[in-house]
Every structure is written in C-alpha cells, then in structure tokens.
C-alpha cells in the first residue's frame, strides 16, 4: 500500500469512528453521576446494575470523586461547572446550595417531584430543610447523619455519673474522666471542628443572624468552650489540630472518655470498645437551648445537563425504598426513606436512637455563600489560635460575625 493511500484510509477510519459513535449509543442515554463514600472501597456497582436492568435505555457512569475533607470534592464540581464539564448529577450538601444558586447551576426538581411516587416516603421536615430560599426544591434527599455525643459507659459508671444532659453535667463528667493519661473530652479543633464547636457555642446562644455571634450570650458560650482546653484542661493538648481520624482513634484507644461525632463511626468505635460505648444527644445549654449539626447528603441535577429526565430517574431510584437502604449502607449513614429507617438494623440500636433523639435540635449550617469558607478556613484557624492562647476567644467570634455580615 502506498503511503498516500494509507494516510487516506487512516483518516477515513478515524472520521468514520467519530461518526459511528452516536449511532452505536443511539437510544441509550448516559448519565454521569459523581459520588463519594467515606470508605473509598465501597462501590455502587450493584445499584447501577439493578437500575440499568430496570431502565435499559439508560447507562449510569458513576464516578467516585475524592472527598478530601469536602474541599477536593466540591472544588471539582465548581471547576467542572466553570469549565462546562460538570456531570449530569452529583451528591451535594446544603452548605453549597447558595453558591450553586449564585451560579444558577442547578435544575429545579419540582416538576419531576410532582409526579414522583416516592415523595411521601421522605418526611416533610426533610423536604423543608432541603428547600432553597427561593422556594424551589433543587436537592433530592439521599441520607443523613446527626452529630451526637459518644461516651464511655463503664468510665461514667465508675465515676458514679449519668450521661451528661447539660453543659454543667458535661464539664463535671469531663473533669471526672480526666485522670491517669485519659482526657474527659476528645475535642475536635482541626478540620471539621464546626461539629464540636456548634453544639456548645450555637447551643449556648450564638446564632448566624446579624449580631448573633457577638451578643453577650454568644461570647460567653464561646469562652466556656475554649476554657475546656485553656482553663479546665479536660481535652488532649493535641486538640487544636485533631480532626476526625485523631478524635476517633483516641476514643477507640481509651485516651478520651467522650467524643462528638455521628453514626458513621459507630461500627469502628463498637469494634474497639464493644458495650463500653454508647451515645446520647449533645448536652443542652444553660437556657435549655440546643444545637447539633444535621449532616445532610442529597443529589442534585445540574442545569447544564442534557439528560435531566434520565438523571432524575437515577437520583429518584437512589432515594426510593430498599435502594436507599443499600445506598446508606455504602455511605455508612442513615437512610432518608421512612420505610427503610423503620427496619434499619445496620447500626446498633442505641446509636440510631441517639441520632433520632438529636433530630429536634439538629440544624444544617446556614445557606450562605460564605459557609464553606467558614467551615474550611475561618473557624479552624481562629479556633486554633484561641485554643493555643494566640487569640482572645471574643476575637474568634468577631471573625465569624465578620465573615457572614462584613
């Protein structure tokens, strides 16, 4: 074959491949879905297989995206949106709703939801929490966790104490458990510290409303929280930078008597401590108020998707009874559907009960464009400075106030 002929044939072959591609895929829509699970070894393959069997006209391209404390995951999404290469749908959290809203990046689901039979299997409160300020529903609830208090039953019994219900109870217990190399409370001052700071400071009277961080009650609550480390020394000296892994490992190793996290860590905590560990809702503030973090996870469809109908079929499949239970097992969290929650036996009952009992005071973080910056930078750096004596605790609250209200 002459070189010229070969080049012609090669060019024609390349063109025909491109031209043939749509024909091969004709009649089959591909939905790109981005997800993350705490355990990266978990895969949604069985859910995808089941969905594709039920929906032979749709192919699901499920792409795991590294979580990286949330920052990596969400940055990929925003970068994808700016570059116009976003997936059709993805797992998302409420704290980013405002930023998505500002970009007009999401597709309202109200039209789809009106005809979706599974809607009634998700509690009205959950729909309310997930609703956007513009009144539209952009998020399809998927699963959730609620922050609660882990405690060592055996150590509290030895000290003759009950699980703490108030801040005063908590301080008493933390002091009693701090001895012989054990610290009463494994405070999280590193990445993700908002879920430890919130129950005591927001639960003690602070709020995200204008002026809500610098009110006397808010400042006092924050000083009380910082004093757990600075004055009472009931937390490990490593607390300023301790994040999820450190607080869970220290609790498992018996180096701390109480820790604040959610049901996602129950399996490994029970694996290490068995019946010695239990959980209750986080303690209430002096005026009976309380706050704990509602850790939401939803799916959303991007406005730029060309396969919105197919994408909705996939995300509604994941939030339907049975499938949602399977999805919650993969994520280590709790199912969002009422029917799956009723028969939930994956986690020990006492942790499910502690999660349920926490729901009345469970709130998401504010739906504000600055919330991710508050979580990822403002709170950790300033809290760490306060915990290590490099900053007056009141200045921490002023920094938070300034972040949200200028």
């Amino acid at each position: 074959m002459e070189r010229r002929t070969f080049m012609k044939l090669a060019g024609a072959a390349a063109l025909s491949f491109e031209a043939a591609r749509p024909a091969i895929a004709q009649g089959k829509t591909t939905v790109r879905w981005w997800y993350h699970y705490d355990n990266p070894q978990n895969t949604p393959a069985s859910l995808v297989t089941k969905f594709e069997a039920e929906n032979p006209d749709i192919k699901i391209q499920a792409e795991p995206i590294p979580w990286g404390g949330g920052t990596d995951y969400i940055n990929r999404i925003f970068s994808g949106l700016v570059a116009g290469n976003q997936p059709d749908c993805a797992m998302v959290r409420l704290s980013y709703l405002s930023r998505f809203g500002q970009m007009k990046a999401l597709e309202p689901l109200d039209g789809f939801l009106a005809n979706w039979k599974g809607r009634g299997d998700i509690a009205d409160d959950v729909w309310k929490i997930n609703r956007s300020p513009d009144g539209k529903q952009y998020y399809m609830p998927l699963h959730y966790v609620v922050i609660y208090l882990y405690y060592r039953q055996d150590l509290l019994q030895q000290a003759g104490l009950q699980p703490p219900k108030t801040f005063d109870d908590f301080l008493t217990a933390a002091k009693a458990l701090t001895k012989d190399g054990v610290y009463g409370y494994g405070m999280r001052g590193g990445a993700g510290c908002h879920d430890n700071w919130g129950p005591f400071v927001l639960g003690g009277g602070a709020s995200f409303d204008k002026g809500g961080m610098v009110a006397d009650k808010a400042l006092a609550a924050n000083r009380w929280f910082v004093d757990l480390a600075v004055k009472h020394k009931v937390v490990p000296p490593s607390a300023p930078t301790d994040a999820f892994r450190q607080i869970v490992d220290a609790f498992k190793a018996g180096r701390t008597g109480m820790a604040i996290h959610h049901i996602g860590s129950a399996a490994e905590v029970v694996g290490a401590l068995g019946d010695k560990v239990s959980a209750v809702p986080v303690p209430r503030g002096p005026d009976g108020g309380g706050w704990t973090y509602f850790g939401d996870e939803s799916n959303a469809i991007f406005a730029g998707s060309k396969n919105k109908e197919a994408a909705f079929r996939w995300i509604s499949f994941l939030s339907s009874a049975e499938n949602n239970a399977e999805q919650a097992k993969l994520s280590g969290q709790l199912p969002i559907t009422i029917s799956d929650a009723k028969n939930w036996t994956v986690h020990p009952k006492r942790f499910v009960e502690a999660s349920d009992a926490s729901l009345p005071i469970a709130r998401p973080l504010p739906d504000h464009v600055k919330t991710p910056d508050f979580v990822g930078r403002v709170l950790p750096t300033n809290l760490q400075r306060a915990l290590t004596g490099g900053m007056n605790p009141d200045d921490l609250m002023k920094a938070v106030e300034q972040t949200f209200h200028g």
Binding site: S238, A250, D373
Partner: protein
C-alpha cells in the same frame, strides 16, 4: 547559485527554531498561558462561584494583601521554611555524599537506601510523620518517654511553638537525598590528582575539603540550592496533610495561604495576587543566581 546558497543559509538559520518550536508551543500552552491568566485574575475581584460578576479592580488585591496580617505571617513563615529546610538539607546531603563517596563493602546498598525518602510521595511522607508525631499513639513521644527525656507526651503538631519545626524536619528528611545524589555525582568528577597534589603539599583532610572539594563542587551545589529553593518555596502538600496550616497560622506559608484562599474561599482573584507576589520573590532569587553564574563565566 547565489540564490540557492542564500536559501540554504536561511534554512540552516531557521532549523534550530523549527526544532525548538514544539517545546516552545507546549511551554506557552501549559505555563505561559496559565501565568498570564493568573496575572489577569489578580487584577479582578473574581470568585469561582460568581464568575459573571467578576470586575476589574486594578491593583486592589495586591494592596489588600499588603494590609493583610496573614500575608505577613505567611511570608515570614515561608522565609523560615525555605532557609531552614534548604540549609539543613544541604548540610545533611553534603555529609551523606561525603560518606557515600568513601569505599566500603555495602556502598552500593547504602546509595540505593539513601534515595528512599526522595522516592516516596509527599502525601505518604506527610501521613507517616503525622503518625510519628501523634500525641496519643506516636512513636516519637513513646521513645522520648522511655528514655526519660520528657515526662508527658507532647502535642508536637498542635502547639504553635513546635508545629512548623516538626514539619520542616519531615521535609528535610524527604529532600536531603536530592543533595546527596547531586553532590555525590559532583564528587566523582573531582580528579584524584588534585588530592594527591594537595597531600604532597602537606594539606590536611580538612584543608583538602576546603580548598579542593568545595571549589570543585561549588557550581553543582549552587544549582542544587537554587532548584531546592524554588521547589521548597512552592511546596505545600506536606503542610496540607500534616496540619492544614494550623494551629492557627503557625504553619501557614505563602503558597498554602494562596491555596486556602483559592480553594476554600474560592477567591481566585485574591489568591492569584498572592501567588504572583511569591513568583516575583522567586524570580528575584533566580535573577540573582543567573547574574552570579554569568559573572563566574565571564571570569
């Protein structure tokens, strides 16, 4: 004939540029374009989640950075970070290279082993040292407690007084093999006759090192130091893994601060101005180095 000669001359003159063109195009695409884009961003109030409302603000991002307390903290930390790490890596690398240049039966194995820290990914280094320093389970506290140097575990990474030094130590460990290998290669090019001559002249080992070894490897060391200054000044992965910049701002360096402003605040305009200032500082160092090298060549 003349015409043919002239076209041949043009072809010969153009050939080098033809060979260089692909590399220049790729460089322009992957380096020059992003740099220009960064410079453009730095003149705008640009947040990633609000690209439609990006507006030109001139040099306001730079003015804001100069008035930002954290910028100055990060700049000081960067200076400590680069100076401390590069000088310790150089000392350790030089020492290791001199040892590995000696003759001993397991020299080949030793030369292979010394490269291991350099071959490990930074994230692995970060995680490994995080657990070495861990307050509850770390091996460092365990050893120091056992030999009685401390009476209680120390939270190495959670205290502002020790956090930066601890991360620097991890990076010194990771990077010294680069100096070892580079200097070792330089040592092997020093002619043995020079040492013989010095020995005949009665020079001690120390004087041989100062007057023969050091001048012979000075050029290589200078190049290695320049490269390391640039790499270390830009590195943020190990800090990100070990402390995320904390506690507080104790381990914030300039690239880390720019990264955090870009990827948690999504303030790409402000982060771009921070990055450009770091680039300008590094370009200043490179300029000094090139000027020095040019001066030596002229001599």
């Amino acid at each position: 004939m003349n015409k043919a000669t002239a076209s041949g001359a043009i072809f010969r003159a153009a050939t080098p540029y033809g060979f260089l063109l692909p590399a220049l195009l790729v460089t322009a695409l992957v380096i020059l374009f992003p740099v220009l884009q960064t410079a453009w961003f730095s003149l705008h109030d640009y947040t990633l989640y609000d690209p439609e409302n990006a507006r030109f603000i001139g040099l306001k991002n730079f003015a804001a950075a100069l008035a930002d307390e954290v910028f100055w903290i990060a700049l000081l930390n960067s200076a400590i970070w680069v100076t401390g790490i590069v000088s310790l890596q150089l000392l350790l690398g030089l020492g290791a290279a001199l040892l590995l240049n000696q003759s001993f039966w397991w020299r080949g194995l030793a030369r292979a082993l010394v490269i291991i820290p350099w071959a490990l990914p930074s994230v692995i280094i970060g995680l490994m040292w995080t657990w070495i320093y861990d307050f509850n389970l770390g091996v460092l506290n365990d050893i120091l407690l056992r030999i009685g140097l401390i009476s209680a575990p120390h939270a190495w990474l959670a205290q502002p007084s020790t956090a930066l030094a601890c991360i620097m130590l991890a990076l010194v460990w990771q990077g010294f093999p680069f100096f070892t290998v580079t200097i070792l290669a330089g040592l092997q090019t020093v002619p043995a006759e020079l040492y013989e001559a010095a020995e005949i002249d009665g020079a001690s080992s120390w004087r041989q090192f100062v007057h023969v070894t050091l001048p012979s490897i000075a050029g290589i060391v200078a190049t290695a130091v320049l490269l390391r200054i640039i790499w270390v000044a830009n590195s943020l992965d190990v800090i990100l893994v070990m402390t995320g910049g904390g506690p507080g701002y104790a381990t914030h360096t300039l690239p880390l601060y720019a990264f955090l402003r870009a990827y948690t605040g999504m303030e790409f305009g402000y982060a771009a101005s921070l990055s450009l200032m770091l680039t300008a500082i590094l370009l200043g160092i490179v300029w000094l180095y090139v000027r020095r090298q040019a001066g030596e060549l002229e001599r």
